[in-house]
Symmetry: C2
Subunit: 140 residues, 2 copies
DNA sequence: CCCAGTTGGTTGGAATATACAACTTTCCAC
DNA sequence: GTGGAAAGTTGTATATTCCAACCAACTGGG
């Protein structure tokens, strides 16, 4: 198999993967959309996130982010802390409840993953993890 | 690194990947939404697809599929052929124009992929392709 | 210091996508 | 045949998004 075919194969597998994610859609966590979940995870993972950062990172309109964040705020999953360097902005922080919900969703997904990968030998897992990481780094 | 950590790493990379796909959103092919593109690709790839099959496969409501297919039909990208075994149904087939559009989109994505992976040695590419394929098989 | 332009964020309005429900036509099992 | 299930279409409601207009606050050049 030449290089072009191999890349075509990778392309095919990636589209298959994204389609499956698409097919499962919002069935991940009840009552929390994929976008809301993604934003919450980002707020949890990164330090000093403002709404504008989220908009830039996910190529969403700032009004969209504003409403999504408002929703997360109303549900008590994030709290906006006034940014001491810029009175216009707020730094978004996750609440304990938000963290709990996020951990819950993550755990359920990881469990499913672990279950499906139970037949993989340790070595293949490590290789796959490393290649995936390199792939993401090269693509971003 | 133990098995749990490795799997957590894979999980993290996969979410990073899906988020990037999400972020790029519909910017893939002008004038063709991600859903429309996905359905078109499915119609092209599988034999004897009916609207109900698409709905079942992607967990979409049949009304949603009906409208999406109507749109693809209006654009001349698919043609519904009456199903000779069932007068209620139509078998969806891709048109030459639909194929052309699909090939165009695929080629542009594959080019981008090839460009980003240009630094990878042949062997790593092959390993990655094989592991991805196995992963998809195990997850589906 | 002040003013022009920029940036963070909110809100109103319109477009779009989707799910749910009701309906028609056809199929199938009895 | 008849009753129930299935394929698809269409009406309606809701959710998500973008665009535009807006306000408040920041920034840099005079």
């Amino acid at each position: 198999m030449d290089r072009g075919e191999t890349i075509a194969g990778i392309y095919g597998e990636l589209t298959r993967f994204t389609r499956r994610v698409r097919a499962r859609g919002g069935a991940w966590h009840p009552d929390l959309s994929l976008v809301a979940y993604t934003l919450l995870a980002h707020i949890d993972g990164a330090g000093r996130v403002r709404a504008a950062d989220l908009a830039a990172h996910y190529a969403l309109d700032k009004s969209t982010v504003s409403r999504q964040v408002a929703d997360l705020r109303e549900r008590g999953l994030v709290t906006p802390v006034p940014d001491e360097r810029d009175a216009r902005a707020h730094v978004l922080t996750i609440t304990p409840e938000g963290r709990r919900r996020l951990d819950e969703a993550n755990a359920s997904l990881r469990d499913r993953l672990e279950d499906r990968l139970s037949s993989w030998p340790e070595e293949d897992l490590a290789t796959f993890a490393a290649l995936l990481a390199r792939f993401n780094a090269d693509m971003s």
